[in-house]
């Protein structure tokens, strides 16, 4: 289990809360060293909104490892996880509260599963999507394809009134992804190690 001091988490959580409250699409650029801090903040923030519908797309860590690391923070009841990498990595263990995608290159399947996750949910509830992370998708796909995927995804989530939080790891960021992140996000939070 990962433990981080509360002051760091609180600061991040506040920045996320402020951004999300007024923007439909928020991009977060974070150094890899602080990835865990950000994930803790996100889960804590998610916990403050138990009535919302959360979809968490994981491309960075297999769901099981994410669950083990942050088990104390994950409230299963209101989060739908979509794991894009376990099957591709040959991890056959499956958990019931997670949807598994065969491969992170099956971008259309990812789109379908994200949108399906909100089907038959209460329209009155707030809907959120966390993409963890956009830059990790480039490991498995060509950058122009990821750009097209992200464009489709943000267009669809906007139409469906879904608030999106897109993480990118600074070290993995290339020009294509940076451009599309800035273009499709209403707000960019750029975290620096000095801030944390």
């Amino acid at each position: 289990m990962i433990l981080i001091t509360n002051t760091l988490i609180d600061g991040l959580k506040e920045r996320i809360a402020n951004a999300v409250s007024t923007n439909q699409s928020t991009g977060i650029i974070i150094p890899s060293n602080n990835y865990s801090d950000l994930i803790c903040s996100l889960f804590e923030y998610m916990d403050t909104k138990p009535d919302a519908i959360w979809v968490y797309l994981t491309i960075t860590k297999p769901f099981e490892s994410l669950f083990d690391d942050y088990s104390n923070l994950i409230n299963n009841q209101n989060i739908i996880f979509i794991d894009c990498i376990s099957h591709a990595a040959g991890i056959s263990k499956e958990k019931s509260n997670c949807i598994y995608i065969e491969s992170p290159s099956q971008l259309e399947s990812i789109l379908l599963e994200i949108m399906n996750s909100y089907k038959n949910t209460d329209d009155k509830k707030n809907k959120y999507l966390i993409i963890d992370s956009l830059s990790s998708l480039v490991i498995y796909n060509d950058a122009p394809l990821v750009t097209e995927f992200f464009t489709h995804l943000i267009n669809r989530t906007r139409l469906s009134d879904i608030t999106t939080i897109s993480l990118t790891i600074e070290e993995e960021l290339n020009d294509n992804i940076r451009k599309i992140l800035y273009l499709k996000s209403d707000k960019i939070i750029k975290l620096k190690e000095s801030f944390i």
Partner: protein, 269 residues
């Protein structure tokens, strides 16, 4: 009626004869697959005979079965003639899908018939049909469709049937007569066409090269290769009697929802 586990023809059910919800709107037969119906501007024009083309594992049978089950959901009776797959295998495979509802088969809204058994009973040569054989088979198909008052009919596959017909003329004649008779009954037909994987730019949608010209519509199930992973695709090549999309969609087959379509990301092609 069930005999030897090979032929299932359900008695007409107690369902009142329903006009069929899908037909009420502008003469279209809704497939019940939302995205496909949108691409077809509402559905397949009623009475059309459509060629569903694809190589092995492309999803032809699943899509056709979903078309029939969704039709039953809308109150339309359908029949599925299988030639390529034994009935027990077909039903076993289809039972795994969330869209499959056994009651529609039990109630006679979806009928599944092994065409090889019919051929046997007609005393037809199992390998090659002469003109009389083809004519007898055609009459039986029409009679079954008429007797069951079906609005949706599937033959899986027309390629296997054409293999038994001895000339191009016979194939042309058979498909044309079948299509016209069923259209006269207001029945919308899907004929599956098996083709080997095509090379880029290759334009052939049927093994014998005749089926595609007689059919009113062609739906092509293909695939694209993305870094070694295969993405299933669906594209409407032609559809007489309606405007339709010609863009390629990515097709997903999920056990929960069956066929799902979403726009194909073009940068990967």
């Amino acid at each position: 009626m069930e005999e030897d586990g090979a032929l299932i023809i359900n008695e007409k059910s107690n369902y009142k004869k329903m006009e069929g919800d899908s037909m009420k709107e502008n003469g279209k037969c809704k497939t019940g697959i939302d995205e496909l119906d949108r691409k077809l501007d509402g559905g397949i024009p009623k009475g059309n005979a459509v060629l569903m083309v694809g190589s092995s594992g492309s999803g032809k049978t699943t899509l056709c079965m979903q078309y029939l089950i969704n039709g039953a959901e809308m109150g339309e009776r359908g029949v599925f003639f299988t030639i390529t797959e034994p009935l027990f295998k077909l039903t076993k495979n289809i039972e795994n899908f969330g869209f499959y509802k056994k009651k529609y088969v039990e109630d006679g809204l979806v009928n599944i018939i092994d065409l090889r058994i019919i051929s046997e009973r007609l005393g037809l040569n199992s390998e090659k049909y002469n003109v009389e054989d083809a004519s007898a088979l055609l009459e039986v198909l029409k009679d079954i469709a008429d007797e069951l008052e079906v609005k949706r009919l599937v033959i899986d596959s027309i390629t296997a049937l054409c293999y038994r017909l001895q000339s191009d003329e016979m194939i042309r004649d058979f498909i044309f007569k079948l299509g016209s008779s069923l259209a006269g009954m207001g029945c919308t037909t899907i004929l599956t066409s098996e083709i080997p994987p095509t090379k880029p730019g290759e334009l052939k949608y049927s093994k014998y090269g005749i089926e595609e010209f007689i059919a009113d519509g062609i739906i092509f199930l293909g695939d694209v290769n993305r870094r070694g992973d295969i993405i299933r695709t669906l594209q409407i090549i032609k559809m007489r009697g309606t405007s339709h999309s010609r863009t390629k969609s990515a097709m997903n087959i999920s056990s929960k929802n069956g066929i799902e379509l979403t726009p194909l990301l073009k940068s990967g092609e």
